[in-house]
């Protein structure tokens, strides 16, 4: 023990140097640089001038930012519970060793490997008026078609549907992994006690995977706050900005209008929101498990 301790020289740090270099260059440096940018009036092509917290004041006074913030919160509040509930349902349904279950697991996970461009193209075919799937269904049912992508409210809903379809694979897999960790003897004991399926679910399964439920929830909150591609490609944030998420606001301000300082200020605010969610994840994942009885 003492020998190995003596041998742990600073020189050993060289082994973590490649990672630290990449971490510093690609994560730490941009983080601090974006803070610096947020304090300057600056575009993409040269040095700016220091404006203090002026950019933050402009962002917080911008009704478009507030609308994008509201949209994002609504989107997260609706998509995350859906992803958690649906992911759990699929995991429970497919947590068996049959060939059909394996096939269906692969099928439900397959959407996750698609790029956002393909996902949005598929859902455009579903929602677009005239030749889309939904208008055809509405027509068959004798109902007035809804313009899903260009009606306030429905546009964010459509983006949410595409997102859930795209992202459902990861929650399902995490829940499946957690379900397979539950000791089989608990279920045997429940069977001996003649417990109903509902009782087994609420007294054994759900308590056993409670931390995974929390983990999936936090991961999804962090991911869905970063919504961009689906909204950008399906609705372009419209109509009237009702489906514009925060990241799209940052993109428009920073890259389309070249107001990089303001865009950086908005991204710092988003960073704070995501940091809070990540802290929750940290607390949950490092909390000591309860002592077994």
């Amino acid at each position: 023990m003492a020998e190995s301790y003596r041998r742990s020289h600073w020189g050993h740090a060289v082994f973590v140097l490649p990672y630290l270099t990449i971490f510093a260059l690609l994560l730490a440096f941009p983080l601090f640089w974006s803070v610096w940018l947020s304090l300057h009036k600056v575009d993409l092509f040269g040095p700016g001038r220091f404006v203090g917290l002026g950019n933050y004041a402009r962002v917080l006074a911008d009704p478009v930012f507030l609308q994008a913030f509201r949209n994002t919160v609504v989107f997260v509040a609706l998509s995350v519970p859906t992803l958690v509930a649906l992911g759990l349902f699929l995991a429970l349904a497919l947590n068996r060793t049959t060939r059909a279950a394996s096939f269906l697991r692969g099928l439900f996970f397959s959407s996750s490997v698609l790029s956002v461009a393909i996902v949005t193209l598929i859902w455009r075919f579903v929602f677009i008026p005239g030749e889309g799937l939904m208008p055809l269904i509405f027509e068959q049912l004798g109902l007035q078609p809804i313009n899903f992508l260009s009606t306030a409210g429905w546009s964010l809903f459509s983006v949410g549907v595409a997102t859930v379809w795209w992202c459902i694979g990861l929650p399902m897999m995490l829940f499946l992994a957690a379900l397979q960790q539950i000791p089989g003897d608990l279920y045997e004991a429940a069977a001996l006690d003649n417990a109903s399926p509902w009782r087994v679910l609420t007294r054994i399964t759900l308590p056993s995977i409670a931390r995974t439920v929390m983990l999936v929830t936090v991961i999804q909150i962090v991911m869905q706050f970063q919504l961009f591609g689906q909204a950008h490609l399906m609705t372009n944030g419209g109509p009237s900005g009702t489906s514009r998420p925060l990241v799209m606001y940052i993109y428009e301000v920073g890259f389309v209008r070249w107001d990089v300082g303001k865009g950086a200020a908005a991204s710092e605010l988003l960073f704070l929101i995501i940091l809070c969610a990540a802290m929750v994840q940290y607390v949950v994942s490092t909390r000591k498990p309860e002592v077994a009885e």
């Binding site: 009704p63 992508l149 009237s240 900005g241 389309v256 070249w258």
Partner: protein, 436 residues
């Protein structure tokens, strides 16, 4: 054996060195779409149709004519400015880039693009050989900052078959188009009653420009000087209000398709979903091709006109154009010469590009029999006089269009009042311009 191997290696090395010495590469970045499977090898430009087909075969032809020049083409999603900005910021810009006249001032004001005056002069291309509208589009502070390629505008693409059904065709076969707002609604109502279809096919979903282009057009028709100061827009005016109310009434009276994005609107018009598609010059070639096929909704029944003058004042339509610019960077004399040759080739072949439907940038093309023989060019030729852009000093025209379209859309869909939308658009645009 050893001798053979050495000789072979020497021959390969020499031929490679020779090729490397002779070949000058130009990195060209453009929008206009990708169509490599159809046109990747085509050098017969006259057989190509549509923007993508024609520009792809033009570049192929240029490479075939100039074996010492290699043009590396990168196709970007329209309009491609995000990519260009990232390239300029990282010092990795291409040599030649397609750009709208309306975006040139952003790059020129920041010193990000170079003047093309010397390159054009070296090739004997006189600035006066371009139309005034085209030259004006690329000229900033007395210098030309791009090779003008065309002028384009929004048009009324007309389905004559449906117009006949609606009784909106003159005895000479031309469509009856409105000359005032009242006529517009009377004819739109008649069309809807007779055909059961909407009068207009518009792009209203996932869209950032059309509302703004139409607003500019109708404000120009009322002589409204809404950008008298290029750093401030003025939209709280009776003229702007009347335009937005007109656009809203089109929706309210059910005279337009709803919810279609660009691709869906183009396909809907081609399938006969409505009488008049409000879309750009670039679709003329494609719609003509559709009308020449039997069994299509446009078969033998397509024509096209400028957006009519609906407001008293003057006949005017908002026009923009495409050009080729040179991002600021170091180039070898060979590359500069190769770019000059490419510009000369593109200017010499401006007629081919005009087959897309765009108006030529080169004046002489207007007088050629080939251009005059192109379908419907007589109908839209007056755009050369009536087409007007925003003042050249107005920066950030693309984001301005996006803000306008969003706010106008809100008013037209009834999510905001007209006054509220115009005030909001004005303050958002002025905030943008004040913070450049």
């Amino acid at each position: 054996m050893r001798h053979f191997l050495l000789s072979t290696a020497a021959v390969i090395a020499l031929s490679w060195a020779g090729a490397a010495q002779a070949q000058t590469t130009i990195q060209l970045q453009r929008f206009f779409g990708a169509c490599e499977p159809d046109y990747g090898k085509v050098t017969d430009v006259s057989s190509a149709v549509g923007e993508c087909g024609i520009i792809t075969s033009l570049i192929n032809k240029f490479e075939a004519d100039n074996p010492d020049i290699d043009v590396n083409v990168t196709t970007v999603k329209w309009p491609g400015y995000d990519q260009l900005n990232a390239q300029l910021a990282s010092g990795a810009a291409p040599d030649v880039v397609s750009i709208h006249y309306s975006a040139i001032s952003d790059y020129q004001a920041r010193g990000l693009i170079d003047s093309v005056d010397e390159i054009l002069a070296a090739q004997g291309i006189a600035p006066t050989s371009f139309t005034e509208a085209a030259r004006g589009g690329v000229t900033k502070e007395g210098q030309m900052f791009g090779l003008p390629f065309d002028n384009w505008t929004m048009l009324f693409h007309v389905n004559l078959n449906l117009m006949k059904e609606a009784g909106l065709v003159n005895p000479d076969g031309t469509p009856i188009l409105p000359t005032s707002v009242d006529e517009f609604f009377a004819q739109g109502k008649q069309f809807k009653e007779k055909t059961g279809k909407p009068y207009l096919v518009q792009i209203l979903a996932n869209e950032t420009a059309v509302y703004a282009r139409m607003l500019y057009t109708f404000l120009q028709q009322q002589n409204s000087d809404f950008f008298a100061d290029p750093t401030k827009i003025k939209l709280n005016t009776p003229e702007a209000k009347s335009v937005v109310e007109f656009m809203k009434r089109i929706n309210d009276e059910g005279l337009t398709t709803l919810g279609l994005d660009y691709a869906a609107a183009v396909s809907a018009f081609a399938q006969g979903a409505g009488g008049i598609a409000v879309n750009g010059t670039w679709l003329i070639g494609d719609f003509v091709a559709q009308s020449q096929k039997s069994n299509t909704a446009l078969a033998g029944g397509y024509t096209v006109y400028p957006v009519p003058q609906l407001f008293p004042g003057r006949d005017s339509t908002y026009a923009d154009g495409h050009s080729w610019v040179l991002p600021h960077k170091d180039r070898t004399p060979e590359q500069t010469a190769a770019i000059g040759k490419l510009f000369k080739f593109l200017a010499d072949n401006d007629f081919q590009w005009a087959r897309t439907g765009h108006l030529p940038a080169v004046k002489a093309v207007f007088d050629t029999p080939e251009f005059k023989a192109l379908p419907f060019r007589g109908n839209i030729a007056k755009i050369a006089e009536t087409g007007r852009s925003l003042p050249g000093a107005v920066q950030r025209q693309f984001p301005i269009q996006a803000i306008l379209s969003e706010e106008l859309g809100a008013a037209i869909n009834g999510d905001k009042s007209v006054d509220e939308a115009l005030s909001s658009a004005e303050s958002r645009i002025n905030d943008l311009l004040a913070n450049i």
